[in-house]
């Protein structure tokens, strides 16, 4: 039987093998892709075996570092399984895209992407704070190396930004974890279940800052733009698609259940920051002059929106946030692939060099329009469903919050339409006119298509997801909601 531990171990071991064994260029890429496909298959198996009931399932719980009271405790609930599934899918697509883009030193880049996947699985599945920290901080290592070695010209600054922000946050969290683990009533115990309700305000904020940086939540989003700009497209897809979700997920699955009293007490802080970030990010996305800028700022906006949804501490808010995490992961990853593909073909992502690409390129136009329509939450799309849930939650919280949030949704429509018109419509100008790039096909298309298909699938049958995560999401925030008197 495949366990969650195997799920984490397989990509990790494959990564080490790929790093150590000198495979030929293409072989390494295909092997990594094969591994990620197998992992994806295993995850689908888990989805079928999963029972939509309260509590955590498929637990592995063995002693890891005895003297410190650290255990290897991994298990999933509906929310974490959804995140694991989306991670497996995006990793596979990212490896496919890297294969198409023919990265140099492909064995190392593929290995690092697989390593990221393993760390992300650990973040989503860990039920022990030590293991959670290993995943949360550990995923930074492969992502940083990917940024340093394969990044764009401004990668040095980007790397410094990433590390300065995230390391500070996670190290503060480490102090919080140490406090929770070492002050446990019966000797050191880092299990999350044993930490519920024991932390004070400073521990809460130590965790919250770490998660806010990773998400990113306004005003701690400074590292995001350089990182998304300088990464190669597949790394940007992993970063914005799933690595950022680690932060939002941790808000919902770690912070809120572990600190119910503080989560209720300070929910307004996160709702306020989420609202500001949503509007601010959307406005800035509207002002960007290139595809990456739009996707990056829209990511900031969407992540703030998700955090807002989580801290509504209501059924609609939490389910909507989880749903929106999945949707945004798929969309932002796919958008980064499209933007990255354009950059490779045209040599620039700047809107001044693009335009009129819809002509003679039906596939590109279709994919872009589907993604754009989904991102701006056209009714009937899965994003509409998730954003609608969060907005309903916001209206339940207070009518004026709902009103303000609706404004952000309108802004999303504006920047997505602007992006679509900038690349697809108008005349073929600039480099796009001279180079006459081909249509989206084969390799790159294969990397994007699965994401689009899942998005369409979720639009048709959103209940497939919401039914599975509903109970878990409710369980996560119920204690905090009780504290808040809701």
């Amino acid at each position: 039987m495949i366990t969650i531990s195997t799920l984490i171990a397989v990509p990790a071991i494959a990564a080490v093998v790929l790093l150590v064994v000198p495979f030929a260029r293409q072989a390494a890429g295909y092997l990594a892709l094969l591994v990620s496909l197998a992992v994806l298959g295993a995850v689908i198996g888990f989805i079928y075996r999963f029972e939509p009931v309260a509590g955590y399932q498929f637990a592995d719980n063995v002693s890891w570092i005895e003297p410190l009271g650290v255990r290897w405790h991994v298990a999933v609930n509906g929310v974490s399984l959804a995140m694991i599934a989306v991670t497996a899918l995006i990793t596979t697509c990212a490896l496919g895209f890297a294969l198409w883009a023919k990265r140099d030193r492909s064995h190392a880049s593929a290995a690092l992407i697989l390593m990221t996947e393993a760390f992300l699985f650990l973040v989503f599945a860990a039920r022990d704070l030590f293991a959670f920290y290993v995943g949360f901080e550990g995923m930074l290592i492969p992502l940083l190396v990917l940024l340093v070695v394969w990044g764009g010209p401004g990668r040095k600054f980007a790397t410094l930004q990433v590390i300065a922000y995230t390391a500070f946050g996670t190290l503060l969290m480490l102090l919080g974890i140490l406090y929770l683990g070492l002050t446990a009533p019966d000797g050191p115990n880092f299990d999350m279940a044993a930490a519920i309700g024991r932390g004070g305000d400073w521990v809460f904020f130590a965790f919250a800052i770490a998660f806010a940086i990773k998400s990113p939540l306004f005003p701690l989003h400074g590292w995001v733009l350089p990182a998304y700009r300088e990464s190669s497209p597949e790394v940007a897809a992993v970063l914005s698609g799933v690595a950022s979700k680690a932060g939002a997920f941790a808000f919902l699955a770690v912070l809120v259940p572990l600190f119910p009293a503080q989560a209720a007490k300070y929910a307004w802080v996160f709702i306020a920051l989420g609202t500001i970030g949503f509007l601010w990010g959307s406005l800035l996305a509207f002002r960007q002059r290139d595809g990456r800028g739009v996707v990056a700022y829209s990511s900031i906006a969407q992540m703030s929106f998700i955090v807002l949804g989580i801290f509504l501490l209501s059924d609609r808010g939490a389910t909507g946030a989880t749903f929106q995490m999945v949707n945004h992961a798929l969309i932002s990853a796919a958008l980064f692939f499209v933007v990255g593909w354009l950059e490779t073909q045209v040599g620039s992502g700047s809107f001044s060099q693009l335009g009129g690409l819809a002509r003679r390129r039906p596939v590109l136009a279709t994919v872009s329009i589907i993604l754009g329509m989904a991102a701006l939450a056209v009714p009937g799309s899965s994003v509409f469903a998730s954003e609608f849930l969060i907005m309903l939650g916001a209206f339940e919280y207070h009518w004026w919050l709902g009103a303000i949030v609706s404004l952000g949704v309108v802004l999303a429509a504006m920047y997505m339409l602007r992006w679509i018109s900038a690349i697809l419509h108008d005349r073929e100008s600039g480099l796009a006119g001279t180079l006459n790039p081909p249509d989206l096909k084969q390799g790159a298309l294969l990397a994007i298509l699965p994401l689009v298909l899942v998005l369409i699938g979720l639009s048709i049958a959103p209940a497939q997801l919401t039914d599975r995560v509903d109970t878990s999401a409710q369980e996560l925030f119920s204690a905090a909601a009780k504290e808040a008197g809701r």
Binding site: Y133, I163, L178
Partner: protein, 487 residues
């Protein structure tokens, strides 16, 4: 007629083996001209392994004192002996291909063995007299090792500087010990402790003695403001020796500090703890900031090790079972990272035939991927990233701070490690700088094999210690019980 004290030969076998090894080598040295290197290395490794073997053998024995109470043989002594032996073996592997080893290998190894014996004696010392003798035994030999590359002015300068400043440190220590002797009538740690806990801590003589002893040991550890020798000495000394210094000297000096402060002077806590807190904070922050502006890698890592020493002080300030275990494990964890990092620098110097700077390593990572990736792991270890042993070290020390209500010191340490990421990242970025011309001329450097072996051994230790540290933590906890505070 003075009666000679009883000697428990088995208990001092680890140190005796090292000294015997050193003298055998020195005697043989005049006969074996030309084969210095091989013979020296073999004898050295055998002596170090034997001392570690004796120490492991003594592990389960109850703690004893011997030589009329001058030495205490307990588990802390054994852990240090094994650690120093490990550091010594790795250093011999790193140094093997160095051309000075061809000419004076036997002397090099003999000095290294004497240093190791001195460090073991420090860990075993039970009185200020033994401590001073042991300190001088290792320091004097280390001064010579620093100046071992007689053709290099930097090396000579390094040895000289270390000699002058190190001697000042020793003198201040002796001066302080004399005051304590004057106040309590004894050099023995236990006797001092008993006398002070009876008499109270208000005596000016005792306070002066405590402060002077603290300053003397601070010199040896190299914490601010007594760190001025560190960068120059680390930079000038042969790189293999630098690696050994940053790992082993730190172990010895920290254990000395722990024995003195926690065993002999716990009654003076009100005097030394505030001083140590200030020193720790200043050292962590300024040490890492100083490292940021360096371009010479050895200087950079020298300041990094100053910062790391400040971090180690946290564990002594906290004390108790958690603090002492944290300290010992942190020292264990730091050793393979430090030796490994300097081994990689050593490799680079041999490739490049010059000093290692941020410029000289530009793009070098693509030429030596294994060494460069190992370097990344060591640097991540310094920064305390998960899955490296450095993380567990940081975890236990910060844990002790949180448990001991020194969380704010932990916050300072966090700020310091974020600063440290700045320079660690600069090294990584430079090694994997795609844009750089592949500037390093790869000369066929001899003795790379053993150097690579050393790097890989350090890498394995750092990773295994990071993933499965349980055994090491148990040992550290046992060894911590040798200190009064650890019980």
């Amino acid at each position: 007629m003075i009666k000679a004290p009883d000697v428990n030969w088995l208990a001092i076998a680890p140190m005796m083996t090292l000294m015997i090894g050193a003298f055998v080598l020195l005697l043989l040295a005049s006969f074996i001209r030309g084969r210095d290197r091989g013979l020296g290395t073999v004898v050295g490794i055998i002596a170090l392994l034997a001392s570690a073997g004796f120490a492991i053998n003594l592990w389960s024995e109850p703690a004893t004192t011997t030589m009329a109470g001058a030495l205490q043989i307990d588990q802390l002594t054994q852990v240090v002996t094994v650690l120093i032996a490990g550091c010594g073996i790795l250093t011999l592997l790193v140094a093997f291909g160095w051309n000075r080893m061809r000419e004076n290998g036997a002397e090099f190894v003999a000095l290294l063995l004497l240093i190791a014996a001195g460090m073991d004696l420090i860990a075993a010392s039970n009185s200020f007299v033994t401590l001073f003798v042991a300190l001088e035994l290792f320091s004097l030999s280390l001064y010579v090792l620093c100046a071992f590359d007689g053709k290099s002015k930097a090396s000579l300068e390094s040895g000289f500087k270390y000699l002058v400043l190190g001697t000042i440190g020793s003198m201040v220590l002796v001066y302080g010990a004399a005051f304590l002797y004057g106040a309590t009538g004894s050099f023995g740690f236990e006797a001092i402790n008993t006398a002070l806990s009876k008499a109270g801590s208000g005596d000016a003589l005792v306070i002066l003695g405590t402060v002077l002893v603290l300053i003397g040991l601070a010199f040896k550890i190299g914490v601010m403001p007594f760190h001025m020798w560190v960068a120059d000495v680390y930079e000038g000394a042969p790189t293999s020796v630098t690696g050994f210094m940053s790992a082993a000297t730190k172990i010895a000096a920290f254990v000395a500090l722990a024995r003195v402060l926690l065993d002999a002077l716990p009654a003076m806590r009100d005097t030394w703890a505030p001083a140590l807190i200030i020193i720790a904070v200043v050292t962590m922050i300024l040490g890492n900031i100083s490292a940021l502006v360096q371009t010479n890698l050895k200087r950079m890592l020298a300041y990094a090790s100053v910062g790391a020493a400040g971090f180690g002080l946290i564990a002594i300030i906290v004390g108790g079972a958690a603090g002492t275990r944290g300290l010992i494990f942190y020292l264990v964890a730091y050793a393979p990272m430090a030796i490994g990092a300097f081994a990689v620098i050593s490799l680079h110097e041999r490739d490049h035939k010059g000093i290692a700077t941020l410029d000289s390593i530009r793009g070098w990572g693509f030429q030596r991927p294994v060494a460069a990736v190992s370097m990344v792991v060591f640097l991540l270890g310094f920064a305390g990233f998960p899955l490296t042993v450095g993380f567990i070290g940081k975890f236990v020390v910060l844990g002790s701070a949180v448990e001991g209500n020194y969380t704010w010191l932990g916050v300072v340490a966090v700020v310091a490690s974020v600063i440290s990421l700045g320079y660690l990242l600069r090294i990584m970025l430079a090694m994997f700088d795609r844009g750089a011309k592949s500037g390093v001329m790869m000369a066929a450097a001899p003795g790379i094999g053993s150097l690579n072996l050393a790097i890989l051994l350090c890498l394995a230790l750092v990773l295994i210690g990071g993933i499965l540290p349980g055994l090491g933590l148990d040992w550290a906890a046992d060894a911590a019980k040798s200190l009064a505070a650890g019980r």
